[in-house]
């Protein structure tokens, strides 16, 4: 479903966020993306949903391929991805409910189905009582859960989650994680960037670790030498 092929990403100022990164994510897999702050986790996700373009190498997602993707194809790609952004990216002038519904409207879902689908996910993330609050009337953790709800509501074949539990307490974190696992059990591939190592250690899910833009560990390739790790 996702394939990184010797991907590097450098920025105008000469800093490089990714260096020769290669990996594959199969249908229905659950992958943790870990690494220190600034290691390149968000950059990997941005390449998947086409917000950034690789400097070299190529990325294949759901049959689309970067950097050759056309401007027309990008919306089509994104509508098949559920994305939880690290900084939430909620529309400030819409209520929590409208933010979630908007993702459905964009994909031209049947209008009758929108209210029920929206309130179902809002309940799943524990925000049924905050449907009509605007983002600035929500606590940090509540905003994060709205962002998660918006990604879930699409029932996408791939879910990308960037630090989806950074603002959540332990209990809420466990809840969200369980939600992601349920969805994954339904066949959705999940890529979750996180530095909550507790979470990572609790599970046997595949883990890809980045360090300064390089993949230094991939549990799926345990046989390969874990270079760079002390």
């Amino acid at each position: 479903m996702i394939r990184f092929n010797h991907v590097s990403k450098a920025f105008a100022k000469g800093e490089s966020a990714l260096l020769d990164v290669s990996f594959r994510v199969a249908k229905g897999e659950f992958v943790f993306l870990t690494g220190h702050s600034g290691a390149g986790k968000t950059t990997v996700l941005k390449l998947i949903y086409g917000e950034q373009s690789p400097t070299s190498g190529d990325v294949h997602v759901l049959g689309f391929s970067l950097p050759n993707i056309t401007a027309r194809e990008i919306p089509r790609l994104r509508r098949r991805l559920g994305i939880v952004f690290q900084d939430f990216r909620l529309l400030e002038d819409r209520t929590a409910e409208e933010n979630v519904a908007f993702a459905l409207e964009v994909t031209r879902a049947r209008p009758e189905s929108i209210p029920s689908r929206t309130s179902r996910v809002m309940t799943q993330v524990g925000l049924a009582s905050k449907m009509h609050a605007f983002p600035n009337e929500l606590s940090g953790g509540e905003q994060q859960r709205v962002a998660i709800a918006r990604a879930l509501v699409l029932d996408p074949p791939i879910l990308l989650a960037d630090e989806p539990t950074g603002n959540l307490d332990e209990r809420a974190t466990r809840g969200v994680f369980q939600l992601l696992r349920d969805i994954n059990a339904g066949g959705t591939a999940v890529v979750m960037a996180t530095h909550d190592l507790n979470l990572v250690r609790q599970t046997t899910n595949r883990t890809i670790e980045l360090r300064r833009g390089e993949v230094v560990y991939d549990s799926a390739e345990e046989t390969a030498p874990r270079e760079g790790l002390a």
């Binding site: 917000e51 919306p75 994104r78 952004f85 993702a103």
Partner: protein, 288 residues
């Protein structure tokens, strides 16, 4: 479709200030253009009033028999440029002179003989009141044997011609300048709406909205603003017209736009709003 309208109206509710500014700008620009248009229309009207006074006077030799004159007059009225031909005999010429030229009434009062000749007064049709046509008619008149002299105030007609040209030029230049400024201001205003909502647009694209989907509400919004702006401008112009017309009795008989002209104005407003949106949003979407 319902969604499209909801989004467009949401934009008004969310940015009432920016929306008001856009509408005001469109209204103001159309108001300015319209004002000049109105002045131009009224000027043309006034010139037409002056033009009707363009006439050719052909003095008739003393002693020409009346039948000759009548026949010639018939002949002259069939010239393509000629609107009417009138005969003024010696006595009415004197009466007219005394009535019109106050300063010389005294002088004429004492006259024992009438020094004024009879004449034919020829009025021209509306399209033929320029210097060229008038000269042509005058020339043909001179070929009549009984006509002594032809007068037509050459200078006055040429001045009218020039006035007409200048008025047209000035109206065009100022109208164009205002229209250009209007388009710039509208474009910038809408570009600012877009910039103000740049974060929102970015988020929309991140969740997979197509450019068309994003553009739709903006275009509708622009068109609605243009429509409102157009209507407002007509209100403003009409208010100005009434106010001005009321307070300056000297300028009575001012005319206002006719319905088709008003419709064109409103359509122009809609086009401005739509065009401004299209350009701004299009550029923004291409650049991001």
């Amino acid at each position: 479709m319902r969604l499209l309208f909801r989004e467009a109206f949401l934009a008004f509710r969310r940015a009432p200030l920016l929306s008001t500014l856009s509408i005001t700008t469109i209204a103001f620009s159309l108001f300015a253009v319209g004002l000049f248009g109105l002045v131009a229309i009224n000027m043309r009207q006034a010139l037409r009033g002056l033009e009707t006074r363009v006439e050719i006077v052909a003095f008739i030799l003393n002693g020409t028999p009346l039948e000759t004159i009548t026949l010639a007059a018939d002949d002259i009225s069939s010239f393509p440029e000629v609107f009417s031909v009138g005969y003024v005999n010696e006595d009415s010429a004197l009466a007219q002179a005394q009535a019109e030229l106050e300063e010389f009434r005294d002088a004429y009062r004492d006259l024992e003989v009438n020094p004024l000749p009879a004449s034919l007064e020829i009025r021209l049709k509306e399209g033929s009141r320029d210097a060229e046509s008038v000269s042509a008619v005058a020339e043909r008149l001179e070929s009549f044997g009984f006509i002594d002299d032809v007068r037509f105030g050459r200078e006055w007609i040429e001045r009218l011609d020039r006035l007409r040209n200048v008025a047209g030029l000035v109206g065009l230049v100022i109208g164009l300048a205002f229209a250009v400024v209007a388009v710039i201001i509208i474009g910038t205003t809408i570009r600012m709406t877009v910039l103000q909502r740049a974060r929102e647009i970015a988020i929309m694209r991140l969740v997979g909205a197509t450019n068309g989907f994003i553009r739709g509400p903006f275009l509708l919004e622009g068109a609605i603003k243009g429509l409102l702006g157009g209507l407002l401008s007509i209100l403003l112009i009409y208010a100005g017209y009434r106010l001005f017309g009321r307070n300056t009795p000297m300028l009575s008989g001012l005319v206002f736009f006719e319905t088709p002209q008003l419709l064109v104005g409103i359509l122009f407003g809609v086009a401005l709003g739509l065009g401004g949106s299209l350009v701004s949003v299009g550029r923004h979407l291409r650049n991001v």
